[in-house]
Symmetry: C2
Subunit: 362 residues, 2 copies
């Protein structure tokens, strides 16, 4: 196909900095300096340039800007899914903080597939994002740690950085930042809440051996039981993922097998609690009159079902991730291996889903 010649009127070329310079009667360098703002300039020149920018509706080409070595301007976040409230809230935090710092936010989803995760990290690497934030529950095995270590090294080499959000730290010497929240502490506190209401047989919904989030939550559950000298019955720990339907399934199966042999439920998260609640209701059991229940996350469904739960600072998690990454970005070139690690606190939110166990049932 023949290239259009300039003589054809239709030719529309996006406005460049050169056009602005010409329109304002100054040189390109002047325009560039005035726009980046980091240089003294005569007010008269300045206003001339700004007027030209406005009249031509000029916006800089981010590609050219990035190429020429100006500091980059994007922050990347990679999650399993955008619709899961947990990830959505973290993403919101990342987005908010990024916007605050004048950066934009690139989002990738993996659906939990390591293949897609790798592909997405490569994309972010191409994009020269200032940091890549990986968030969420994972299986913490050797393969995982190796993969993360590779990501971290590759990103560090390119002047970017890896931030693990709600994930366990890698070994020292790996240039990754970590921002976590206190799963075990929260689980301990809310289990204690049930225990001090007299409950001793507490069903745990959503065990998942090897997965970091359920693992650390169940650890808090077990610690609390031990500290209150309540015997630990592994039969009260039900396996399942963290989706709503699983909560329904687990409780339904349990109730179909026989009458409840527990007086309270600790759901690994609020979604599981919502599912469990539905199954309970189908069996004529009401919360908190018949069964007490607590959850974890303090996300939307929990307010609707009056659930006592553990508040997780999701947005703060995201904001902190960005802040940490950008903070260190401005400092002097730092040697790898100085990984920073932040742990955010969690706390109980009391609503109306726990009833003290009558003394005769204890």
């Amino acid at each position: 196909m023949a290239r259009r010649t300039a003589s054809e009127g239709g030719e529309r070329r996006p406005t460049t900095i050169r056009d602005v310079a010409a329109h304002a009667g100054v040189s390109v360098a002047t325009v560039s300096r005035i726009l980046s703002g980091t240089y003294p300039s005569a007010p008269a020149t300045r206003s001339k340039v700004m007027r030209a920018v406005r009249e031509l509706d000029y916006v800089a080409n981010a590609n050219a800007r990035g190429l020429a070595g100006a500091s980059s301007r994007s922050v990347a976040i990679i999650v399993n899914s955008v619709v899961s409230p947990h990830y959505a809230h973290v993403a919101q935090g990342v987005q908010a903080q990024a916007a605050l710092e004048g950066k934009l936010c690139i989002v990738g989803t993996t659906g939990g597939d390591p293949e897609r995760e790798l592909a997405t990290v490569q994309l972010m690497r191409q994009e020269h994002a200032e940091c890549v934030i990986l968030v969420g529950n994972v299986v913490n095995n050797d393969a995982y740690r190796e993969r993360m270590t590779e990501y971290a090294r590759a990103l560090a080499l390119a002047g970017s950085r890896l931030v693990l959000c709600g994930r366990p730290a890698l070994g020292p010497g790996v240039p990754a930042l970590v921002v976590e929240y206190d799963n075990t502490g929260g689980a301990y506190a809310i289990t204690s809440h049930l225990l001090s209401a007299g409950h001793r047989r507490i069903l745990f919904l959503g065990r998942r051996e090897g997965h970091t989030t359920p693992d650390s939550r169940i650890a808090g559950y077990r610690n609390a039981l031990a500290d209150h000298r309540v015997p630990h019955d592994p039969g009260l720990e039900l396996d399942g993922t963290m989706e709503r339907g699983e909560g329904y399934r687990m409780v339904r199966q349990r109730l179909e097998a026989g009458p409840p042999d527990f007086t309270a439920i600790f759901a690994v998260n609020d979604l599981i609690a919502a599912g469990a609640r539905q199954a309970l209701r189908e069996h004529g059991l009401r919360i908190p009159d018949d069964i007490s229940m607590v959850g974890f996350d303090d996300l939307p469904p929990s307010a609707d079902i009056d659930l006592t739960t553990v508040h997780v600072p999701h947005e703060e998690l995201g904001r902190t991730a960005v802040r940490m990454a950008l903070e260190r970005g401005t400092g002097s070139a730092d040697r790898t291996g100085q990984a920073e690690h932040v742990m955010l606190g969690t706390h109980i939110i009391v609503r109306d889903s726990v009833r003290p166990l009558p003394p005769d049932q204890r």
Copy 2:
């Protein structure tokens, strides 16, 4: 600060295409061609290059690539908030479709502030996104339409395109794509559902004059009333925004003013329904035994509260937006003003929140 000299060992420069070329013993052009894949090349050369890429862990610089005129590779979506399920699901669709086409997805949030919206659009323009998708409820006034028209023109000029998602179309001649869903039809259908159950006094929660989404939903409500020859009582339309707390507030105020003068509720969306439900329960009213209720959106809360509602194809909305934009992108240069317009259907999801009105109460 003195620039580091090459003699200092610490100097780490990201791997470039030149390094790959040198390592493989070919020219940069050859590497570029082999990597873009769209060019014949000798198998031997090809494998040499791929090996070098692997050994050096090379990833292309997206900025340089974009600058040099390769087709761009990102899709932008701008929403009010990422945590709102409505937007989250649309964003999920956009993300999924973008990933499918090998593009990445840039997300911006505005919090409903036109100022921030403008700033975000400018950022996306800088970034040379292939399309900018604006989604959601807005006040449809002159100022709004002017703003959108400007966006559309500026984006079209830069080879990008504006997509309005769930928003009304602009006039002809404005180069914007539109993908909507049938608010009025859905509202009509679900209002009819209540009417055929015998309800005649249906409280509408969430009127908001001038806002496109509530406006078109209330229009469906009114049409259905008219077609069923049910007198329209403006006193049954309560003003409010679309957040959960508002549903609670509206119903609570109404019930505190006196006993219910309605037998059913049509909430402008599921969140409002959830809030309304809470207020009803606090007054001892149960759904559907005492009051029937329907919502709109078919988003997470509605399953938890067994709400009959209108299904909105949120993800499909997002996917369609991307598909439309990219489709037209590959075609020949099209004249402005050929705006395309897609309307997706909605349908009722029947759960357990509507009860036929006993004959003696009709």
